[in-house]
Amino acid sequence: MREVAVIGVGMNRWGELWEKSHRTIWTEAALEAIADAGVDRVDAMYVGCMSGGLFVGQEHLGAMLADQLGMGPIPGTRVESACASGGLAFRQACLAVASGAHDIVLATGVEKMTDVDGGAATYALSTAADQEYECYHGITFPGLYAMMARDHMHRHGTTRQQLAAVAVKNHAHGVLNPLAQFPMKVTAEQVMESVMVADPLRILDCSPITDGAAAAVVVPLDMARQLSKQPPVRVAASAHATDALALHDRADLSWLASTAKAAELAYKQAGVGPKDLSFCEVHDCFTIAEIMVIEALGLAERGKGGAAAASGLTALGGKIPVNPSGGLKSKGHPVGATGVAQIRETVLQLRGACGQRQVKNASRGLTQNMGGTGASTVVHILERA
C-alpha cells in the first residue's frame, strides 16, 4: 500500500443557502480544493452524501457531480453511511490512492438540507436509525441521544451543566471560524433554558440543519511535493468500525463501541496514542455525543467525559483542544459534508493557517465522524509530513 497525503482542501460558507442548489454548493467546494492543491486534473472522485433522495429528490450523485466538475468521464462514486458519509468518502479516496488504482483523487461531502421543511428533514435524518423497531415508535434522533444522555447521567453522574459546557465551548470556537453557520457565543444559562426538544436535550444541545459542502485532494505521499506547492499532510491512519444499528441492541447504552474500535485501529496504524495528539475534530451532533466521543477516543476516562468537558481540557488553549472549528454545533452539520470538513480543518491546522483559532504547535490531529447513534464511526489521524 502507498502512503497517502492531502494537498488541497475546500469549503464554502455554511448555512441556509436558499439561493444555491445542491450541485452548486458541491462544485464550489470541489473547485476550491482543486485550486488549493494546484492540480489540473482529477483521476477519480468520491461523494459522501446521506440522502440526496430525501433532501432534494436527487440520486446518482457520482455521475451528476462528475458532470458538473467538467473534468471528463472520471469515475464518480457516491458513498453513504448516514452522518459518517463524508468521513467514509475520504477513507475510500485514501484507499483508492493507497491501492495504486488512482493518483489524484477528490474526496467530497455535501448535503442540501433546507429545501424540505423541518418534519421532512427530521424524517430523512431518522432513516439512519432502525425504521421498524425505533422510528416506528415515534423516537427521533434527538430522542435517541437524549436516552444516551440520561443513561450517562444516571450511570456516571454527568450533569446538565456539563452537557451545556460542550455547547458553550464549541460556540466560542465557532466565533473564530468565518465559515461557521452560527458563529455566536452562547452561555450555559442560554443552553439550559432553550426550548426542550427531547428531555434532557434542548435545542442548543443539538447541531443545526445546514446546507454545505467540503472537499479534499488526496494523492500518493511520494508525489505530493511534485504535484503541489502546498505542504503535504500525511494520512497516518484511516479506520472504520460498526456497531448494532439499534441503540437498544448495544451492551452499554452510553458507550460508543464503534468509536472505541475505530480509534484503537487508528492509534495502532499510526503508532501513537491519545497523548500524542495536538487536537481533535469530533462528531458533536449533540452535546452528549462529544462527551461520549472523548471517552471512546481515550482523551477522558470512561464516565468522566462530562467533567473533562467542563474543566477546559478540550477548549482552545487547553491540553487537548476538541473541535477548534466550532464543531457540528456551531460550524453547522450538513450531514454528508461534515466528515470532509473535519479533514479540511485538520489540514489547515497542520499548515498553521487557522488564524485566531489556530492550535499552537499543531503537528498531529485526529478526526472522528459518526453515523446514526454510533452504528458507524470513521477515524483518521493526520500529521505534518
Binding site: G138, M147, D199, H248
Partner: protein, 132 residues
C-alpha cells in the same frame, strides 16, 4: 409512509411479540434474524417475548416526527424485558414528569401512529406502568 406489505411483514412481532431463541447460545433475537448476533448460530426456536420489564432509559419527546405531532409531549424508553431482551417503545398511561429509570412496566397493544399516506392505521406495543 408505510406500505401495506412492509406493515404486514412485521405483524408477528408487533401484534404477537414473536421472537427467536438461538439453539446454540440461548440469546433471544427480536425481531428474529437469520444469524445470531451472539454466536453466529443459524438455528432458532420460536419464543414469545416476556411482557414485563424495567425502564433502563427514557426521553420525553417535545418535537415529534410526522405522524406523532398530536401526541407531544410523550415518553419513549428502552426497556429491558425479564427475558433480557431490550425493546424501544412509548411509555404511556403515566405522568411523564414522574417516570424514572428502574420503573417496572408491561407491554400492551395500542394504536401507534395516525394514518400514513397509504391509509394504514399503525398498531403495535406500548409500555404502561406495571403494579408490583
Amino acid at each position: 409512509m408505510i406500505g401495506s406489505a412492509r406493515y404486514w411483514r412485521e405483524i408477528p412481532q408487533r401484534y404477537r411479540y414473536e421472537a427467536a431463541k438461538c439453539a446454540k447460545c440461548g440469546r433471544v433475537a427480536f425481531p428474529p434474524r437469520l444469524v445470531c448476533a451472539g454466536c453466529r448460530g443459524r438455528e432458532f426456536t420460536p419464543v414469545k417475548l416476556a411482557q414485563t420489564g424495567v425502564v433502563e432509559t427514557f426521553t420525553v419527546i417535545h418535537v415529534a416526527p410526522t405522524g406523532f405531532g398530536d401526541e407531544t409531549p410523550y415518553a419513549v424508553g428502552i426497556v429491558k424485558l425479564d427475558d433480557g431482551v431490550r425493546v424501544t417503545a412509548q411509555i404511556t398511561d403515566c405522568e411523564t414528569g414522574k417516570l424514572a429509570i428502574g420503573d417496572r412496566v408491561k407491554l400492551e397493544f395500542r394504536r401507534l401512529q395516525q394514518d400514513g399516506e397509504s391509509g394504514i392505521i399503525c398498531y403495535g406495543y406500548k409500555f404502561v406502568p406495571a403494579i408490583g
